[in-house]
Amino acid sequence: MSARPNLIAGGVISGAVLTLAALSLVWVPHDVTALNIAERLRPPGGPYLLGTDQLGRDMLAMLMVGARSSIAVALVAVGIGMGAGVPLGLMAAATRGGWLDEIVMRMNDLIFAFPALVIAILITAILGPSALNAILAIGIFNIPVFARVTRGAALGLWTLDYIRAAELAGKGRARISTEHVLPNIANLLIVQATIQFSLGILAEAGLSYVGLGAQPPTPSWGRMLAEAQTMIYTAPRLAILPGLAIVLTVLGLNLLGDGLRDALDPRLRRAAR
């Protein structure tokens, strides 16, 4: 019963952010690369709905384009995590207890010891800073998460009768994994993807804040915050708006994840954190 408000609120907020980000591909209120010192630090209102920053750029336009970078990074990172993690988890579960399972799980433990920030630091040291770093770092961090969730859920399925029946019918482990196991854990993976997506938005913000993410002149929420920090005495609005955008997006995605979990699989509700 309580699932509906979460799902609706989460869907509406996430939908709105996604729409603004998508809209920025074709239209923004003002050009974000054009500097206009004469119009710097304008208060909200008039031609600038949310005011302008220290270089005269429109805050709304910056936030819209920033949403695009955040979403792109988090989305691709979830794709990397799922693309590598799910097959690994399926393989580990199909060969449970075997050497392959052991190797996959130990590799997982190893990656777990590297927080996304540390991976980003290493990649930046090697390749120099770029938005690609953030994608790679968060993506690599996502792999063991998906591998673990997939393996855990798949292990439970492998003991069920219909899977045994498929085995007896002569289907191979790989085929059973893709035809029977994967469809049955898809719901769980969708929910996990939503969670990792919101964590990715947070991580991207943190990385671009410390300069390990998107580089100028590409606007990103994290870098807007970093630049606003020196202006915090004169124009606190510059520091408040990008933060609110992050909070709203992450909150929307989390609510959506909770709502989806409850709607897709009521059995998961008890296990919910």
Binding site: V118, I232, G243, L251
Partner: protein
Amino acid sequence: MLRYALTRLLSLSLSLIAASVAIFAAIEVIPGDPAAYMLGLNAAPETVAVLRDELGLSGSVWARYLDWISGLATGDFGISYTYRVPVAELVAQRLAVSLPLAAYALALSTAIALPVGLWAAARRGRGADLGIMAATQLGIAVPNFWFAMLLVLVFAVKLRWVSAGGFPGWEAGLGPGLKALTLPAVALALPQAAILARVMRSALIETLGQDYIRSARAKGLSRAQALRRHAFRNALIPVLTILGLQFSFLLAGAIIIENVFFLPGLGRLIFQAITQRDLIVVESVVMLLVFAVILVTFLVDLAYAAVDPRLKRR
């Protein structure tokens, strides 16, 4: 217990070796010669060769790896390319800020989250519970470095209760040092506390549904007593897991938060090292961070066994 501890210790050592190989290999693939970089474009090849020897950059890959790893084990982290002082010295100075910060935040977050989770679980479904759950949902969505900026805005800019950043050093005394770390620690702790409180609450609610809680209630314990005496300890396993995971987030978070408050910690060191291509510093600090995470995982495993004796026999 001893056998359990020994297996965990073996797995700890293997993880450390694997991690060190991964980090060394990652730094090894970087093109360019730090010695040439340090001396600039006009350096004579002979001078570069001498410096390479000095920095321990000559020799085979294996020899360098073994050199590095045995150095780490004995506390000799090498010489910083840019600062020209032992890396161990640099790291120790910075750790004296970052480690207390992470520990302070961990203590704060636990001290807030466990009672709040317990309180919410005891009032499950009522107004107070719903309010706490809504607040934690918000807490999870707030990036800690932005929260830190808001704290600066309120407490340093508007109220002028504290300075906006900087660190007087522990030489100035424990009080001023802790005072400088309080705002950063709160910024780190509150978002973590939101997650921890949720875990505590759902773990408690899970255990409250168990038969032994019904038995405890049947023998006359009040709901609150059953919660404190029986459910709390059993709910600690998932809480410990999250606490262990949180430590790595706290360390990473501390590195980012240091930038907001201009604290001279590991974070400032590593970001400077990256821009100056001081790879030996990057390598050592990354290894140190990974070591800390692996060590905490090991300690959490031991704590599991202490909380749940059944695990010792596995």
